[in-house]
Amino acid sequence: MVSAESRAMLAKSAETAAAKAGRTLRLSETKPGDHGVIVEVRAGSHSGGHGVAVDELQRRLLEFGFVEGAQIEVLHEGAIWRDPIAVRLDDMRIGLRRRDAEGVWIRLDAK
C-alpha cells in the first residue's frame, strides 16, 4: 500500500516538475527535490503566532543566509505533517519549520 502510494506521489511530482519550472511559490509550500532561487524574503507575510515579531523572524532568516539571489534546494522533510524541512542554501544545510518559511519566496528552476 505504501509503495503504491509513494509511486503515485513520485509520478505526480515528476509530471508537475516540468510544469512548475519558473513558478514562484513560498518555501513553505515546496517538496523535497524542488530547487530554485530566492526572489524575496518578506516580513509579515505569514499567518502569525510566532514568539517573535515578524521583522525579527525576517532578520533571523536573513542572518541564516535566506537572502534574495541565494540558491536553494529542498532536501528532506519530517514524518509528521511533512515538517520541518531541510534545505541546502548555497553551500550550507539548514533545518526549519514550514511556518517559519512562509515569508521566503522562491522561483523554481527547470529540472
Binding site: 510566532h50 514568539g51 533571523r60 536573513l62 537572502v67 532536501l75 531541510a86
Partner: protein
C-alpha cells in the same frame, strides 16, 4: 631592554557554532583551562592561559558560538557584551580571534563584518583547513586578508596545526601597538543584513573558488538519517542503545562506589565513638558526598554519547527529527538534548537548557525536565515493584515487573508532554519560537576533544551539583537527627526528630492517598535525594543494616502496606518533586524563586492527585 614581565593580554575567541572553536581553544590552551560562570548569569565562562615564546602570557576566553552580534539567547548576550567590552566584571579583550570553518565561509564573513565594526584588533583563524584542502577549495588568503583588513592564519585545531602561527599573529598585533578604533557597531536592520550578505558574497566570489570535490558524504548520510521513517527508527534505536549503556556499563562502577562509601561509613562507625560527630560524618557528610558521586558514572556514560553525537553533527539532526513530535506538546526541537540528559539526572538536564534561545521555551523545558524518570527513582521503583508486583508473565513473554517499570517511564514522559502542552495553552498561548538550525557537515569526532569535554562535564557536575546537594543532605541529616531520642525510647530515633514530627504532622493530609506515618516520615529525608527514601524506610521500620538481608525491607513492606498503598507510593514518586537539589538548580538557572515555587506546587499537586486516584481505584478493586 628591561626584564619586566609583559602584561597579560586578553584574547577572546568568537565564531559561528560548529566552527571548531572549542577544539581550537583546547589546542591553544591545553590543560590550562578554568571553567566558571559569568557574574550574574548562568553561562559557562571558559578561560585558558598561554605562555608565548616571547614570554608574554595570554589569557584566552572561549565565547559562546553565534551567527550575529544581535544576541538572542543568554549565551549570545555574553558573546556580544564581551566583544563590545560591556560585560560587567570582564575587562574588554585586547585582540579578537574569529574562528571560521574554512569550508563554510559565507555566514562567518557576515559576522566578521559585524566584528570589524566593533573596531578591535582581530585575527581570522581559518579552521578545518585540511578538510578545505581535501575538497580542493581554493582560498586566496592574501586577497581575503586585504578585503577584511586583518591577518589570516590557517589552522587544523584537532591536529594542533597552525597554532603557533596563530599565537605569533596575536602577539604581532599586540606588539605593533594596533589599538582599538571607535566602536561603530549598531544592531543591523533587515536592509543592513542584506547589504552585509551582498558584501560577503562579493568577497567570497573574489577570493574563494568552489570546491573541486565537494563533500557528498554528508548528503548521503542525511538521506538515511533524515529519512522521515528510517531516520526516526535509527534515532530510537540509538536512544535504546544509549539507555542500555547508561544502565549496564555504569551499574558496576556505581555499585562499587556506593559500596565503597557504605564501607567507609561503616568503618568510621566502628572506629569513632558513637555520637553526633560520627553521625554527622557518616549519615550527613559521607552519604551526602556519596549520593552525588554514585550518579557520576551514569551521567558520564550519557554525556559520552551526547558529546560523541554532537561532535559527529548528529544532534542537530535529532532535534530536526524530534521537532514536530515535541512541537505537538509545545516544546522546541532543541529541548530534546536537555530532556534526554534528564533521564540520568534532572540537574545536568536543566543546566543544558541554556542552548535554547527563547526564554519561554527554556522555562517550559526546565519545568518538565524533572518529570523524566531520573536514575534516582530507580532504587525506589525497584524496591516497591519487588515487594508488590508478582513476578509473573503477561501474555506468556513479558514480565509484569518489567511492564510496570516501562509504564512508570512512560507516565513520566507522557506527563511531561502534557504539562508542557498545558503550560503553552495557559501561559504562553500560541507563541512559538522559530526553529532555524544549521545542519553541520558530518565530521569524525576527535577522541582528545571528546575526552576533554567529558572531563569538563564531570567537573561542572561535581562542583555545581555538589555545592547544592551537599548542604541539602546536611540539612536533612539535621532534621532527621535532632532532637535525639529520649532515654528508654523504643521507637527508632528518627520518630523523635524534627523530621519525625513533621511527618506525624503531615500524616492526616497524606492519609487519603494511603500513606501511613512511617512513609510520611521517610519522605522527609527522601527530599535530599529520591533514593535516600529507601534507606529512610529501612530506618523507620528499624531494619537497620538491610545489607545482610537484601529482601528484608521488601518483606517488611509487604506486611505493613497494602498493595494499594504500594501502588500509590509508586504514583507519588513519578511526580513528586522529591529532590531539593533540582529545586536549587532551577532557582539558580532561572535566577528567581518564582519558578522553583511553581515547580514545587504543581509537581506536589500532581503527585497527590495521582496517588489519590491510584489508591482509591486500587481499593475499589479490592487491593486495599
Amino acid at each position: 631592554m628591561t626584564d619586566v614581565p609583559l602584561p597579560t593580554a586578553r584574547v577572546a575567541l568568537v565564531g559561528n557554532p560548529n566552527s571548531g572553536k572549542t577544539a581550537l581553544f583546547n589546542a591553544l590552551t591545553g590543560s590550562r583551562q578554568k571553567v566558571a560562570n559569568y557574574a550574574g548569569v548562568t553561562v559557562e565562562r571558559k578561560e585558558g592561559q598561554i605562555a608565548t615564546a616571547s614570554g608574554r602570557s595570554l589569557s584566552v576566553l572561549d565565547l559562546p558560538g553565534t551567527y550575529s552580534l544581535r544576541a538572542r539567547s543568554p549565551d549570545e548576550v555574553v558573546t556580544r557584551d564581551a566583544v563590545l567590552g560591556k560585560l560587567s566584571g570582564e575587562a574588554p579583550p585586547d585582540v579578537l580571534i574569529c574562528v571560521a570553518d574554512a569550508t563554510n565561509l559565507r555566514l562567518v564573513l557576515r559576522l566578521i563584518l559585524e566584528l570589524k565594526a566593533v573596531g578591535r584588533p582581530m585575527v581570522l583563524a581559518l579552521n578545518m583547513f585540511d578538510i578545505a584542502q581535501r575538497q580542493g577549495l581554493r582560498i586566496d588568503l592574501e586577497g581575503l586578508s586585504r578585503e577584511i583588513g586583518c591577518p589570516i592564519v590557517t589552522t587544523v585545531a584537532t591536529r594542533k596545526r597552525g597554532i603557533e602561527d596563530l599565537v605569533a599573529q596575536v602577539e604581532n598585533l599586540i606588539a605593533s601597538g594596533v589599538l582599538s578604533t571607535d566602536n561603530i557597531w549598531r544592531e543591523p536592520d533587515a536592509g543592513q543584513i542584506r547589504d552585509a550578505h551582498r558584501e560577503a558574497q562579493r568577497i567570497l566570489k573574489g577570493n574563494v573558488r568552489a570546491p573541486e570535490r565537494p563533500d557528498t558524504f554528508t548528503g548521503k548520510v542525511d538521506s538515511v538519517l533524515l529519512h522521515p521513517f528510517a531516520g526516526l527508527a535509527i534515532l530510537f534505536t540509538l536512544l535504546f542503545v544509549m539507555f542500555q549503556a547508561v544502565f549496564t556499563w555504569s551499574k558496576a562502577v556505581g555499585d562499587l562506589m556506593s559500596d565503597g562509601f557504605g564501607a567507609l561509613g561503616a568503618s568510621l562507625v566502628a572506629h569513632l565513638p558513637a555520637g553526633i560527630l560520627t553521625s554527622f560524618l557518616t549519615e550527613g557528610l559521607i552519604s551526602g558526598v556519596g549520593s552525588v558521586l554514585v550518579f557520576l558514572p551514569q551521567i558520564l556514560v550519557l554525556f559520552f554519547f551526547i558529546i560523541l553525537l554532537e561532535d559527529f553533527g548528529y544532534m542537530a539532526r535529532a532535534a530536526f527529527l524530534m521537532d514536530r513530535i515535541m512541537g505537538g506538546a509545545g516544546l522546541h526541537g532543541r529541548a530534546f538534548i536537555p530532556l534526554l540528559s534528564s533521564f540520568a539526572c534532572a540537574i545536568p538536564g536543566i543546566m543544558s537548557t541554556r542552548v535554547i534561545d527563547n526564554r519561554r521555551d527554556r522555562l517550559t523545558t526546565i519545568m518538565v525536565a524533572p518529570l523524566m524518570t531520573c536514575s534516582a527513582r530507580i532504587p525506589v521503583y525497584t524496591l516497591i515493584i519487588s515487594a508488590f508486583i508478582p513476578n509473573t508473565k503477561v501474555a506468556g513473554v513479558l514480565s509484569l515487573p518489567g511492564l510496570v517499570m516501562f509504564g512508570l517511564y512512560a507516565s513520566g514522559i507522557l506527563s511531561a508532554l502534557g504539562v508542557s502542552f498545558i503550560t503553552r495553552r495557559l501561559l504562553w498561548r500560541g507563541a512559538v519560537e522559530p526553529f532555524l538550525m544549521e545542519l553541520p557537515a558530518y565530521k569524525l569526532p576527535d577522541p582528545l576533544n571528546v575526552a576533554r569535554s567529558l572531563y569538563l562535564r564531570a567537573q561542572i557536575f561535581i562542583t555545581r551539583a555538589g555545592t547544592i546537594i551537599l548542604p541539602m543532605m546536611i540539612l536533612v541529616w539535621f532534621l532527621s537527627s535532632f532532637p535525639g531520642a529520649p532515654a528508654g525510647a523504643t521507637d527508632p530515633a528518627i520518630n523523635y526528630s524534627l523530621a519525625g514530627r513533621i511527618g506525624h504532622l503531615l500524616q492526616p493530609v497524606l492519609g487519603p492517598i494511603g500513606f501511613n506515618w512511617q512513609m510520611t516520615v521517610a519522605l522527609i529525608p527522601g527530599f535530599a535525594a529520591r533514593e535516600v527514601a529507601v534507606a529512610a524506610l529501612g530506618t523507620v521500620y528499624a531494619i537497620g543494616n538491610s545489607d545482610a538481608h537484601p529482601g528484608a525491607l521488601a518483606t517488611t513492606l509487604q506486611h505493613h502496606w497494602s498493595i494499594a498503598t504500594g501502588l500509590a507510593f509508586l504514583a507519588w514518586y513519578v511526580f513528586a518533586p522529591q529532590c531539593a537539589s533540582t529545586i536549587g538548580v532551577v532557582k539558580r538557572e532561572t535566577n528567581s524563586w518564582l519558578w522553583p515555587a511553581i515547580m514545587l506546587i504543581y509537581m506536589t499537586t500532581l503527585a497527590y492527585l495521582a496517588a489519590l486516584v491510584v489508591y482509591q481505584v486500587a481499593r475499589v478493586c479490592g487491593l486495599g
